[in-house]
């Protein structure tokens, strides 16, 4: 008959409260209501609102003085239980109460009082035991409810933790990606700065008043639209070369810049042509530019020897 206990909602409890305050619920239902109203102010207030009614109901039975022995036994029991307590006082005299001598008090022999208490105590032991059992049942019901509520909370927290963990993982991945991106951006910025610096150098060199410039001649191997111009300063080693209209070198080939003293060509460097057909080349020659007689750009095999090939694209006599 005792259904598995579920978390009580207020509507269900409110239905039970009238019977609860009248003591007309089964033990398990009563325990459930008791546990609920411990935690629910609304339902507790509802239960308490019936207090005056229930508190007056006993008066409907009238009133009847119990036999004097009831009172006597009660105070004997109290005297026995608290015989050594200094705060215990004897019952106050009462206008029409029993003669003082018949009532037990501090003057009752301890042994007699203890024996009396034992006899009375045996009779009331079952009352006590039942009362305790009730308390335990209510406590148990309450504890079970608390346990279930905690289990639910733990499950919720676990779910939240899993979600947070997943989110954390995703965030870490994003962070890693961002870091990579950042590194790449930094490299790009670095490259841009380098190129910017080179451009600045180039521009300032080209714009300098002592700089002289001269075009290079194209050969029959050069494309029609190809042109090249070189910039240098008398007494200085620096040579700047601007090339336009060249195709990028095919795989396995490269453009090389040569300077020659008399018949002696010296390989100065590789000229890289971009996809737009433009090449900017800045180099510091081993000697001042005045020392050289000739400049030329050839298209060579990548593993070419120290001598320029026959395929000359630009040349100029200095």
């Amino acid at each position: 008959m005792s259904a598995p206990m579920t978390l009580s909602n207020c509507d269900e409890i409110l239905e039970l409260i009238p019977a609860f305050v009248l003591g007309a619920l089964d033990a398990d239902e009563a325990a459930r209501v008791a546990a609920h109203i411990t935690n629910c102010p609304r339902c507790r207030a509802e239960a308490e609102s019936f207090r005056d009614v229930v508190g007056l109901l006993p008066y409907a039975s009238g009133a009847l003085t119990p036999p004097p022995r009831v009172k006597r036994q009660l105070f004997a029991r109290i005297a026995a239980a608290h015989d050594d307590a200094s705060t215990t006082t004897a019952p106050a005299s009462h206008p029409m109460a029993m003669p003082r001598s018949t009532r037990p008090g501090r003057w009752v022999l301890p042994a007699f009082a203890a024996m009396l208490a034992l006899i009375i105590g045996l009779g009331t032991a079952t009352f006590e035991a039942r009362g305790r059992a009730e308390q335990f049942a209510a406590q148990l019901a309450f504890n079970q409810q608390t346990l279930r509520s905690m289990e639910r909370q733990i499950a919720e927290v676990r779910q939240t933790a899993t979600a947070v963990e997943a989110q954390l993982l995703a965030s870490v991945r994003e962070l890693d990606e961002t870091r990579l991106q950042l590194a790449k951006s930094q490299q790009e910025i670095q490259a841009l700065r380098t190129s910017e610096r080179q451009d600045e150098q180039l521009v300032s060199f080209i714009a300098a008043p002592q700089t002289v410039s001269r075009p290079l001649e194209t050969t029959e191997r050069a494309p029609d639209e190809a042109s090249a111009r070189m910039f240098m300063q008398p007494g200085h080693n620096r040579l700047v070369l601007m090339v336009y209209g060249l195709k990028s070198a095919e795989p396995g080939k490269m453009y090389r810049l040569w300077l020659a003293k008399g018949n002696q060509p010296i390989a100065i460097g590789v000229v890289t042509v971009g996809p737009d057909g433009v090449a900017e080349f800045v180099v510091d020659a081993p000697e001042p530019m005045d020392a050289y007689d000739q400049v030329m750009i050839t298209l060579d095999e990548v593993d070419a020897a120290a001598q320029p090939s026959e395929e000359v694209i630009f040349e100029a006599n200095l």
Binding site: P18, V54, G55, L64, H94, G123, G131
Partner: protein, 205 residues
């Protein structure tokens, strides 16, 4: 409707809450005053519920023993001392009734109960007797104003200690009907008492 508040006969008539506080500090004379005030109601109620004088005497003693033992746990302001005492007594009676019902023996002796209530009885304290009479009048009047079928479930629940399902069985009614009647009865009684402006303070000062 007249006020229920009763004037104190003399300065020795102490407030219930003062008495219970003294009981909690192990003043047995305070317990004696509470006993003199309420043991008569407890005894009459126990007699009505159990129909057995000996058992009713046990209930009275056990009730005030528990008042003595548990007075410290009584929360001032959370209810009336009288209601608390009656609650203890009522629970003891219900336990006894359920214990009896689980053993197929003694039937209630209605004759004995009636005989007991017919006995002339005198409350020694004049003021106390007046308060008792007034409270009795109030509750009987309220009970008279609710429909008989509601009064019946109230009687069976409170004084016979029957559970809702037991009442349904006895009256051969659906349990839902019993629950509704119980609720309506208590709500109506509550409203009647409040309309008479009988608050907690008025009742128990």
């Amino acid at each position: 409707m007249s006020q229920v508040r009763m004037p104190a006969a003399d300065s020795s008539a102490l407030d219930d809450e003062v008495l219970i506080t003294r009981v909690a500090s192990r003043d047995s004379s305070a317990l004696e005053q509470l006993y003199d005030r309420y043991a008569r109601i407890v005894y009459a109620t126990a007699l009505r519920m159990l129909g057995n004088a000996e058992l009713a005497e046990d209930i009275v003693q056990e009730t005030f023993w528990r008042v003595w033992r548990r007075s410290a746990s009584f929360a001032i302001g959370r209810g009336q001392v009288a209601g608390w005492i009656f609650g203890i007594a009522h629970n003891l009676c219900i336990d006894e009734l359920r214990r009896q019902r689980s053993r197929p023996t003694t039937a209630q002796n209605e004759y004995e109960e009636q005989a007991m209530l017919d006995q002339p009885d005198v409350q020694s304290d004049v003021v106390g007797a007046a308060i008792e009479r007034e409270r009795r009048r109030i509750i009987l009047q309220a009970l008279a104003q609710i429909p008989p079928e509601q009064r019946e479930v109230l009687e069976l629940a409170y004084f016979r200690g029957l559970s809702q399902s037991e009442i349904a069985q006895r009256l051969n009614s659906p349990i839902g009907t019993v629950k509704t009647r119980t609720r309506l009865a208590l709500q109506k009684m509550r409203d009647l008492l409040h309309n008479q402006k009988i608050g907690a303070d008025d009742l128990h000062d």
